[in-house]
Amino acid sequence: MTDLPELATLARETAPPAREGLVVEGLTVVTEVRGTPVVEDISFRVAPGQVLGLVGESGSGKSTVGVALLGLARKGLRIAAGRVCIGGVDILELRGKDLQGARGRLVAYVPQDPASGLNPALRVGRQLREAIIIHGDSLENETVDQRVTQLMEEVGLPATDTFLNSYPHQMSGGQQQRVGIAMAFSCRPRVIVLDEPTTGLDVTTQRRVLETVRQMTVEHDVTSVYVSHDLAVVAQLADQTAVLYAGRLVEHAATEAIFRGARHPYAVGLLKAVPSSARSEILVGIEGRPPRPGRWPQGCSFAERCGSVQDECRDELPALRDLGNVQPHWVRCRFPEPPVSVDQAKQPVPVLSRDVDAVLVVRNLAARYGPLDVLRNVSFDVKAGRCTAVVGQSGSGKTTLARSLVGLHTDWTGDVELSGVKLSSDPQRRSKEHRRTLQYVFQNPYGSLDPRMTVRQNLEEPLRHFFGLSRSERDRKVNEILQTVALSTEYAERLPQQLSGGERQRVAVGRALIVDPEVMVCDEITSALDVSVQALLVEQLRQMQSDRGLSMVFITHNLAVVRSIAQDVVVLSDGVIVEHGPVDQVLDHPAHEYTQRLLADLPSTE
């Protein structure tokens, strides 16, 4: 948080038109066929020069709100009601040429995937000029080329001919995203909608992009709406934060007010689930999932999952109330939580002794992809019943390391010993015992379970292969493992597609666990999950660590999760270990410059 939001503009009374940035009132998006609301009654106003963070988990409708600000709706959806006013013009009233003129000139959009926002067949310079030429009236005594040069400087890219004549695929993801931002700002719009523009980027690039957004917003007095699932990013960037749940705003206030004292139980729950990079804390997740459109309950949407739910909550939808003293603080809850920081409620993780034997020993591992050296001289230990985290940015070789260990990548040399026995690089030559004791959990929960098999059948597959147990024995084991991953036995007969991402990932962990492995290699297993679900999974892994003495290799790019789950950490950069040691030591006193930079660039809710 750099500066506090202006109080006057947050108030809901009509502000003077000149300072009116973006005013959204009663925005409702419904499905085309039956008119089922997907997003309902969204109202907020943001002043020029301010950033609104629109936070929500997957399916909350945050992207739907984001594109609706441009008068757009995804296929199959339709904007049914509401106003989106920018400087007195209601975008939703515009049609045809007027609407075209408004897009780009009044409101612009930066998509999540920078590559999809740029035309791969056109040079970036031409794409930038195109928009400016179409909206020629945005030029102020300058030529198109001057505007392009200025834009490139603003987003921190070289305005050279070489760069402007390159194609999108010749640039890095961060550069592409900054070109996307330059394009959005190219016609000096009044409002910019950014739809998770940093999701695919690593922390250092993310920080630069966020700085660019912040700076451009203030410099050009633009209103920015930043749609994100990442609370830490929003905490750092936004002046105001609005939390969406099941298509409705549940809390909206100054960012500071929300992160220091959220009032809605859902917002509080989200904050409790966010891992801290500074302290090792027990994370508290939120069980269940939000109701889908068409299944919204009569009362509060969050009632099903709320810890402090009362009978009245289910009867009638609570209204959005202003609970703020000085600044407005809108909360859609009948029994709001006291405004205290969640940090006080968090509990530290019990410290595990590191004085145990190593179960997995890696020495001088070097991996190649064809002529390319991906890993060099990688050596570390995984101690029994402990978790070693491997962190690094994309391209650091961390996934190759995991794949080499389990046998998915075969082109490597070096010594890997599991419980004192050497592991072959060729998976065909590994013993059945090794294949069982070393288990792998994939990153993407949507692809790792057989879609044609029920949860029970998926869990039974490894049992059949490794033990060939009788039917009743298998049933017993499946029920036992479902309990371990905190899923009721009702899930057993479901197909994977009927499960949420978090539930699927729990089944995937259960499938690895059911054969009683010694070491479990987890490859970014929480990166596809919402933060409330990630917290549940991390706590379950911790439970397995203490209950079963499970050892883990935890591959991740998220340093905050490392702090929460791991005892040892290995920092990889360009295929080499740059730092290695106990988590607290490495994260509190990083010795290597790379680790220091990673930590400094990490956004935090604090």
Binding site: T36, E287, P427, K432, R436, D450, H465, S488, E503
Partner: protein
């Protein structure tokens, strides 16, 4: 498990498990569409004629019952007589089953062979993939009819050989489609996970890859069936397969083509039946494909429709 955390329970679902892409679902979907109903009706009409026909009391299909090339009426039967004065209707009723049976057998064999070849190529990769797929490429380069004629004229016009030849020239097409579909499935994590445990390839393919390929297999099978029918009818016309005097629709067209101007029913009747069959199977296969791959151009079902479906 800690005592405090209670296991998650799934939300209640009214609708039973819907398996996306299963054969039962796409067949049901195809039958619900007008296209599928028409296709199936046309197909069943001809299949009915072919298999019930021999049991309908009529004149003998090989007996000379009248003056050659007679038009219907005057005791010449409903459809008149053919070049040798045999009853056209009787020959039409008796001449279908062998054609359909041969087409069905060769399609089943071709789909089996092609599916195995394509999936094995996709799963094993490397040398296996190269050997299988290059063979497929070579076979696809030879025109189908020429290929079959070559085999049949070198070895002889035996019925089993027609089946083998048609199988061999349909299988590469199936292999190519299945190879492309299987490549995608083989790259999925769940297949890799199973392979990592050391499960033998045959089991991985049968238990985990094949079930995900039923949709393209069903669609391709339907398409291959219509091509097999046309191919075998063509071979019959050229004098391979069913031999005169035995009745067959393809043979009938050949025998009576000289009399087309005087007694057209001898050619027209089998030709119409064959055309209806080819169109029927094709339209039905098309309906299957539309359900399986969603919409005109393979688009995903829009969000709203999906939402409405879950609501209902």
């Amino acid at each position: 498990m800690s005592d405090t955390a209670s296991p998650a329970t799934p939300p209640k679902q009214r609708a039973p498990a819907k398996r996306r892409g299963s054969v039962a679902r796409i067949v049901r979907g195809a039958l619900a569409s007008r296209r599928g109903q028409v296709g199936l009706a046309l197909t069943l009409l001809v299949v009915g004629i072919a298999f019930v026909g021999p049991f309908i009391p009529s004149r003998s299909p090989t007996e000379f019952s009248g003056v050659p090339y007679s038009l219907p009426g005057n005791g010449n039967g409903v459809l008149g007589t053919d070049a040798l004065g045999r009853d056209v209707l009787a020959r039409l009723l008796h001449g279908g089953w062998s054609l359909l049976l041969l087409a069905a057998i060769s399609t089943v064999l071709a789909v089996l062979l092609g599916a195995i070849a394509g999936v094995v190529a996709a799963y094993r990769g490397r040398v296996t993939e190269m050997l299988i797929m290059r063979t497929v490429d070579i076979m696809l380069a030879i025109p189908q009819l020429v290929f079959v004629l070559l085999i049949v004229s070198v070895i002889g016009a035996k019925t089993w050989l027609v089946v083998v030849a048609v199988t061999l020239c349909q299988a590469p097409q199936v292999a190519r489609v299945m190879y492309a579909s299987a490549q995608d499935i083989c790259e999925r994590d769940f297949v890799k996970a199973v392979a990592l445990w050391g499960v033998p390839p045959r089991k991985v393919i049968m238990r985990h890859i094949m079930p995900s390929l039923t949709t393209p297999l069903a669609v391709e099978g339907g398409l291959r069936l219509s091509f097999s029918i046309i191919l075998i009818a063509g071979l019959n016309f050229l004098g391979f397969g069913t031999q005169p005097p035995n009745p067959s629709w393809g043979v009938m067209v050949n025998e009576n083509r000289l009399g087309l101007a005087t007694s057209y029913w001898g050619v027209l009747a089998p030709a119409i039946v064959l055309a209806i069959l080819a169109v029927g199977t094709n339209v039905f296969a098309d309906a299957l494909a539309r359900v399986a791959f969603g919409g005109e151009d393979g688009e995903e079902v829009p969000v709203a429709t999906a939402l409405e479906l879950t609501k209902a």
